[in-house]
């Protein structure tokens, strides 16, 4: 069942994945974004995510609606607050009758989420603090 949400607790990947299993769908694609230690030479220690929650959930819902309208099921959950290395920051899942649609839409959702949804990261790197997205 479609779930679109910003949370400040650990993301329960297992129950979100299971919520996408339905008899009418044969293919489920999920994407997990986790806190990575190295980006090239830069070593990250932790990341603080913040959000404009009401607007972020609205924007996520708009993205999901475009996929739900095609008869697929969608889960989009983003975590905010302080995350450690390996923590799951975002879970995107799409269940579809056929797998090509599941892959295509899951990738589209994470690509667009990263462009339009008001969530920000403050990256605590070994050398300094970096704000994501700034040029």
């Amino acid at each position: 069942m479609s779930l679109i949400k910003i949370v400040d607790k650990p993301i329960d990947v297992d129950s979100l994945t299971k919520s996408l299993i339905h008899n009418e769908y044969g293919g489920i694609d999920t994407f997990l974004g986790t806190v990575r230690q190295y980006t090239g030479e830069i070593e990250t220690e932790k990341i603080e995510y913040s959000t404009y929650k009401m607007m972020a959930e609205k924007e996520m819902q708009k993205l999901a609606d475009s996929v739900l309208a095609q008869g697929m099921d969608v889960v989009m959950v983003h975590r905010v607050g302080e995350l450690q290395l390996g923590d799951v920051a975002v879970f995107i899942g799409v269940a579809a009758p056929h797998r090509a649609e599941a892959f295509e839409n899951c990738q589209m959702l994470i690509d667009r989420l990263k462009k339009t949804v008001p969530i920000w990261k403050k990256e605590y790197d070994k050398d300094k603090i970096r704000w994501g997205g700034l040029e």
Partner: protein, 79 residues
């Protein structure tokens, strides 16, 4: 009108900034006013968008009476 700030702007300037906006204005005017008040953050503001009532604003004129909430959206970096 209290305008909401987020991310690096909230951390440097505070959670809101108080502006006096005319009856009609454009999204860009909001950014310009904040730039005047906080010229140190002109660079971030130039990369930011404006949200009105939790929707990204376009280039059209905005009636102040239709506005419940304004927010400045620095480049997003979720995921």
């Amino acid at each position: 009108m209290k305008v909401k700030l987020f991310s690096v702007l909230a951390e440097k300037i505070g959670p809101t900034v108080d502006l006096s906006l005319p009856d009609q204005f454009k999204a860009q005017d909001v950014l310009e006013q904040i730039k005047e008040l906080h010229p140190d953050y002109a660079d971030v503001l130039d990369q930011s968008l404006v949200a009105v009532n939790e929707e990204y604003a376009n280039e059209d004129k905005i009636d102040l009476t239709s506005v419940d909430e304004i927010a400045i959206i620095p480049p997003v970096s979720g995921g």
